[in-house]
């Protein structure tokens, strides 16, 4: 540690820290524009000037390394004057359009001009104007407001790995641009809006819709992928206006995928806002009472094993638990949360988790991707892999991939092959990547759903597990065998045991007429055309998507922003979301609907409040007893498990892996209902296969 004296207060900071970090450690606020904790240091805004003893002039603290005994002064007349001068320079070309600027009220430049500016400008000449750029359907630009801090350039280059933005030209003509006009191709482009300290980059879909101080802010969890990104839902007047990420270093750092951020207009369209019942092929709207009575009448006399439920990808654990309890009380074990037909090793929790945790990627030193395309399946996790790749330096983090990348991965990958036969080659040492894994201290294997949704998934997983044990990826200190999920509800459902019982039907056989009554809990991405006409379909969900069209009875539920819910992310982290707005019309929270129906049916579920339900969930699986804090991840363990011989799990099939996500912007009912996402889909199209570098 290095001892630095900040305004007379000694603080100890790690060697290599910057003066700015030392000042922050001492609790001093240093104004800044270009400096961002998660980006490289640029040092071009000069707002963070401080005085250092024996330095001839003020220094930019963001890029000034600390030395033992260094004395820093953050509040002297020199510093104050320097800040005022920098502020005056920055404002020379900045328009005075705060009243019509979307950043107004949450603008670093505005705040710091108040806090550190001089209040007057001596500049009388013409201001410069810069043409706006078209960066695609998500990011709106007002380039005249830009102060050239280059945070966006550094974000897109370093974090997103899509170096499309740059600072071209020089001096008064310098501007941020893509040079050749094109839409940004990153799935993380929305974060540019957050990193921009001024109103140059703002959200295009919500432009001119609301002011930052008007929002009611509610903590929630993103359900667009299985990462469990911590978000804040910002609503006004019962309408979700905006979603921004919250900081959680163990999950999403401070990033959010574009789908999580911009599919919110889908929450307002194609919604189911009242119950519907199909009578003689014609659908008509009914009251809740009539709907539940009609449904109970249909259930009457149907044996329990002829009733089944399939859960979709966006469900909260509460509704999953309620529907499971209801079906079990009726004597049914026809439950399945795997609408994509995936296979998991459910003998231990570690069989279906991202065991190393998301932050474990930072420790990995070799990575094998098996049948997964993280860039589309979990963009923020992909950024984490890229961060590790960049931090490790040239060749420091070798990444092998089995499967064909359907887009640029944003880091160098060695494509080892396209089918699971490569796994056998690595196991036998025939493939050179075996040596890479062998030599790594913390090797990591990520198995994705391109592998797990195949018929030979057990064999692929067994081979991966054998490989993991062989290369030291599974040790008491290091859990490097990871499953990358794509569905937000999946791990929670698996934790609740939302799987077919010994005699139960799985999703595929339920769809093929294995049950008489099929309850779809937000399950739209199943092969609905397989359902025979005589099957009675109950749809409990929030969007009038594919399943609602087939349903015989529709019960309108709440979307993830409209209910308090528990979600377990792919790493097994139990996280709570809170209700930001109320569901539209007659729609209700899903578990309450199920609870109400159970009463009509005469099998009343043993909980009346959310707390009772959650207590019950904790009994079903103790992981739910924990309340979502960052330190509370119950890791799975594979320590005791021996590696089984891969032969027992069946044969590997040579067929190549197919990507599970064809169109990143259209993967679930909310994103399919969103016009913004539809436009993105049109602009970016289905990503063509790109050969790895």
């Amino acid at each position: 540690m290095v001892r630095v004296i900040v305004d007379g207060t000694p603080v100890d900071v790690p060697p290599g820290s910057s003066a700015l970090q030392a000042c922050e450690a001492a609790g001093k606020e240093i104004p800044r524009f270009c400096y961002h904790e998660r980006l490289s240091v640029a040092g071009n805004c000069r707002m963070c000037l401080v005085e250092v003893a024996r330095a001839p002039k003020p220094v930019a603290s963001c890029g000034f390394p600390v030395a033992d005994g260094m004395q820093i002064f953050t509040d002297t007349e020199v510093v104050r004057r320097a800040r005022r001068a920098v502020m005056e320079f920055l404002l020379i070309n900045h328009p005075l359009d705060c009243p019509i600027c979307d950043q107004g009220g949450e603008c670093d430049l505005q705040d710091q001009a108040y806090g550190y500016g001089s209040g007057v400008s001596r500049y009388k000449e013409d201001k410069r104007a810069v043409t706006d750029k078209d960066l695609g359907p998500l990011v709106k630009t007002v380039m005249t407001r830009c102060i050239q801090c280059t945070r966006c350039v550094r974000f897109s280059t370093e974090v997103a790995g899509t170096p499309e933005l740059g600072l071209v030209s020089r001096g008064e003509n310098a501007e941020i641009t893509t040079y050749v006009e094109k839409a940004l191709t990153s799935e993380l482009s929305g974060n540019l809006i957050d990193v921009c300290p001024v109103g140059a980059l703002t959200a295009k879909p919500s432009a001119f819709h609301a002011r930052s101080w008007e929002y009611k802010k509610t903590d929630s969890i993103d359900v667009m992928d299985a990462l469990g990104t911590n978000i804040q839902v910002q609503a006004r007047g019962g309408e979700v206006m905006r979603i921004v990420p919250r900081v959680n270093d163990d999950v999403n750092e401070e990033w959010l995928s574009d789908k999580g951020r911009f599919s919110i207009d889908g929450l307002k369209r194609k919604r189911l806002d009242r119950p519907w019942v199909r009578v003689h092929g014609k659908i008509s709207s009914v009251s809740w009472k009539d709907a539940l009575i009609a449904l109970a009448r249909r259930f009457d006399g149907v044996p329990g094993d002829r009733i089944g439920a399939i859960a979709g990808d966006l469900c909260d654990a509460e509704s999953l638990c309620a529907i499971k309890d209801l079906l079990q009380s009726l004597g049914s074990s026809n439950l399945d949360c795997r609408q994509d037909g995936a296979w998991y090793d459910t003998s231990a929790r570690a069989g279906y988790l991202f065991n190393s945790d998301i932050s474990g990627i930072d420790q990995a030193d070799a990575l094998l991707l098996v049948g997964t395309m993280p860039r589309h399946e979990a963009p923020v996790l992909n950024a984490r892999i890229r961060k590790r790749f960049v931090d490790a330096g040239r060749g420091g983090f070798p990444i092998g991939m089995i499967g064909t990348p359907s887009a640029d991965m944003t880091y160098d990958v060695t494509v080892l092959g396209n089918g699971p036969d490569v796994l056998a080659d690595i196991l036998s040492g025939k493939n050179a990547f075996a040596e890479v894994l062998q030599n790594a201290k913390n090797p990591m294997i990520i198995v994705g759903h391109s592998a797990l949704t195949r018929r030979d998934a057990p064999a692929i997983y067994a081979a991966c597990r054998e490989l993991a044990h062989a290369c030291g990826a599974v040790t008491p200190e290091w859990q490097g065998l990871n499953i990358l999920h794509t569905a937000a509800s999946r791990v929670g459902a698996l934790d609740l045991g939302f799987l077919p019982g010994p005699q139960g039907c799985d999703a595929a056989s339920m769809l093929r007429g294995g049950v008489e009554i099929l309850w779809l809990l937000g399950a739209d991405d199943v092969q609905l055309d397989r359902i025979p006409p005589e099957t009675f379909v109950v749809y409990l969900g929030h969007h009038g998507d594919a399943a609602a069209q087939r349903a015989d009875i529709i019960l309108p539920g709440a979307a993830y922003t409209e209910k308090p819910g528990t979600y377990v992310n792919m790493a097994g982290r139990v996280q709570r979301a809170f209700r930001a707005v109320f569901a539209p019309g007659e729609a209700r929270e899903d578990w309450r609907i199920i609870r109400a129906f159970s009463e009509v049916l005469g099998h009343t579920l043993p909980y009346d409040t959310l707390e009772q339900l959650r207590a019950h969930m904790a009994q079903v699986n103790p992981v739910f007893a924990m309340n979502g804090g960052s330190a509370q991840r119950l890791a799975g363990t594979t320590g005791g498990q021996a590696a089984p011989a891969s032969g027992q799990a069946g044969e590997l099939m040579p067929a190549p892996f197919r990507p599970v996500i064809q169109d990143y912007y259209q993967t679930n009912v909310i994103s399919r209902a969103s016009q913004t996402m539809a436009e993105c889909s049109k602009v970016y199209g289905v990503a063509p296969a790109v050969a790895a570098e």
Binding site: D126, R128, A129, V130, T131, T157, P163, E164, L165, G166, L167, V168, S169, R170, E172, N173, E175, T178, Y179, V180, R394
Partner: protein, 211 residues
């Protein structure tokens, strides 16, 4: 006020010719393979010269920058940034002869305004950055060329014409128009930056003679 970097007409493709390839091989040999991005500026210059050789207009089209980015394994945006930052790279087509008039203080004090005026008169160009109607000349205002002792300077492509005035400027341009390149250097009777008419000091051969 804003920039003029968005070039209007772009060729569809760009390929380095054999002469350029020979130069590139020499440039790349100076850098380790994993640091070859360092060669971006020489390559931009080679591309610009090739354009001048082949089309008569020495500029770097976007496709050429893309080719360079690919060749050097760097993001195209990084090449755009470099090319647009340096005024020596022309990101839009220019005339066959690039008249670069230095108007920084020493040259200005020594009459660069006359040189500018002479250029305008001889070529018909109205403002800096414009190309003459016959496509032969582009006049650019440049900052200090570092030859202040011989001010004012007119740089034509890579050559300095020094100690210029209106008359000499007109003459140089007339020569260029005729397809000849006058000998670069001082336009008056002096050797490089030495005094006009020959030496004024250190006339004798040894210091002993002066005592």
């Amino acid at each position: 006020m804003s920039t003029a970097w968005t070039p209007a007409e772009q060729p569809d493709s760009f390929v380095f010719d054999s002469a350029s390839e020979a130069e590139i091989a020499g440039v790349l040999s100076k850098y380790p393979e994993e640091r070859k991005a360092s060669a971006v500026m020489p390559l931009l210059y080679i591309a610009q010269r090739q354009m001048g050789r082949v089309t008569g207009s020495a500029w770097v089209p976007v496709v050429a920058m893309d080719v360079i980015a690919q060749r050097l394994g760097m993001a195209a945006m990084r090449v755009y940034e470099v090319a647009s930052f340096y005024t020596m790279f022309n990101t839009r087509p220019i005339g066959r002869y690039h008249l670069q008039v230095c108007t920084t203080t020493p040259c200005w004090l020594r009459g660069s305004d006359d040189v500018v005026e002479a250029c305008q008169k001889a070529t018909g160009i109205q403002h800096f950055g414009e190309t003459s109607a016959d496509g032969l000349f582009t006049m650019t205002e440049v900052e200090c060329l570092g030859a202040c002792a011989n001010a004012p300077i007119l740089q034509v492509d890579d050559d300095f014409y020094e100690d210029m005035n209106a008359e000499r400027t007109a003459k140089v341009i007339a020569e260029l128009r005729a397809g000849r390149r006058p000998t670069p250097g001082p336009m008056i009777d002096r050797n490089v930056s030495a005094p006009e008419g020959g030496r004024k000091t250190l006339l004798s051969s040894s210091t002993a003679d002066q005592e």
